[in-house]
Symmetry: C2
Subunit: 282 residues, 2 copies
Amino acid sequence: MSLELLSSQKSFGGWHNRYRHRSATLQCDMVLAVYLPPQAEPDAKLPVLYWLSGLTCSDENFMQKAGAQRLAAELGLVLVAPDTSPRGPDVPGDPDGAWDFGHGAGFYLNATEQPWAQHYHMHDYVVQELPALVEANFPVNDKRGISGHSMGGHGALVCALRNPGRYRSLSAFAPIANPSSCPWGEKAFTRYLGADRDAWRGWDACALLAERPARHLPILVDQGDADSFLDVQLKPAVLQAAAAAVGQPLTLRLQPGYDHSYWFVASFIDDHLRHHAAALHG
Amino acid sequence: MSLELLSSQKSFGGWHNRYRHRSATLQCDMVLAVYLPPQAEPDAKLPVLYWLSGLTCSDENFMQKAGAQRLAAELGLVLVAPDTSPRGPDVPGDPDGAWDFGHGAGFYLNATEQPWAQHYHMHDYVVQELPALVEANFPVNDKRGISGHSMGGHGALVCALRNPGRYRSLSAFAPIANPSSCPWGEKAFTRYLGADRDAWRGWDACALLAERPARHLPILVDQGDADSFLDVQLKPAVLQAAAAAVGQPLTLRLQPGYDHSYWFVASFIDDHLRHHAAALHG
């Protein structure tokens, strides 16, 4: 569980660090970014917000573009951004070189089908190995929040709903809310999980909500109404209906004029940070 | 003076737009980014902050990484970020493909030497053509501020000092403060301006301050003290001495632990935006 420091840069009175480590879960080297706010003194115990990024992203996109560090520094939140899939020459990618599967597109699940099953266990990496690594190496406590964007919004919802009690706060930006019934999800789930759609239910936020709502965990979701992926890929209305059916607290905000980009994320990240901080510092 | 809209994305209630236009000054097509805050209604007259980026940058780095739009939206400031040099297949670049000269490295001057003199007139582009374009196409007034980073900090200082009255506010992050006596500047000035160092004085903030201080224009400069370029390339102490010698108001803040990156810029951009807004809205 050792971390190799790749870079360390002062930011908003804290430090933006990047690390490489060998992941036993993914059987490859992984890079992650950690923002340590100024409160991260050696004897501190700070809560951690895990951020899961979307298709094609690495650990860098959120940290560089979301503008989250300013308020995280004020709120005393550690931010952790892992990569979006296993990587490396030994990790198989999309056979056609597509950007929506394989490298950069791990979908935060545990693959069962070959050749993906050896490396593509991003769920276990995010939920188990990564927090263990973070909690062993940084001045943090075990109060965890999780959020993400697009594929990472799906990941945040699924990681929290599958693991009751593991996260104290949950939010998402433009999540792939119902991957079992959208092209991105159907392509990924068919390959990673096989053709049997029953096996998909454990990896779909809408199906999970029906079976195991997390009524103690209010969910904040922002979605731009000018997002070009809204109707075909994201389907927030299905999530809203699934939440309503089981009494799951969900605030879905349709933000007029916003698209799917990090300009949208940056515009509302402060609200999400405050949503998480309220639960994590409580 | 027509602008071709390349993209338009909602951000913090306003719009982040990118445009292409034909520059008569530079004799090539140029791309620029404009952030229009929510106050930019058709009948508004908002002040404009021009941002000049550093070596290797385009119009994108500042807009994506500095986190300036959040407060610009609150303060009602239009942000304009041009490219850092003329571009295109007809524009000669560094003969050795170096990153510190030519494309991405126009140094905000008017070149006099061949083959650079045909296109490399970034000073006139930034000071004349760009404001004329912006003021003809957007709901802005003629209250202009200017700032920048590294090579762009040099550019901001030089553009403001050479053109009294044209800018109402001035600041810089880690500027190349004395380019006549640092490797980046000596390489660029020798090629763009020739070997006669007398011709360099009009493009060096320290030399300009001695000849024509702008005592009505207080300058805010931030500089990280862990910046690896500090002693050899940037030389803020020379700027500070030049300002003190002529009574030029200059606030130089050495920020402990910060490097040369956009993490540094993002950490202090709010102070600069407030510095500019105070003068521009006054």
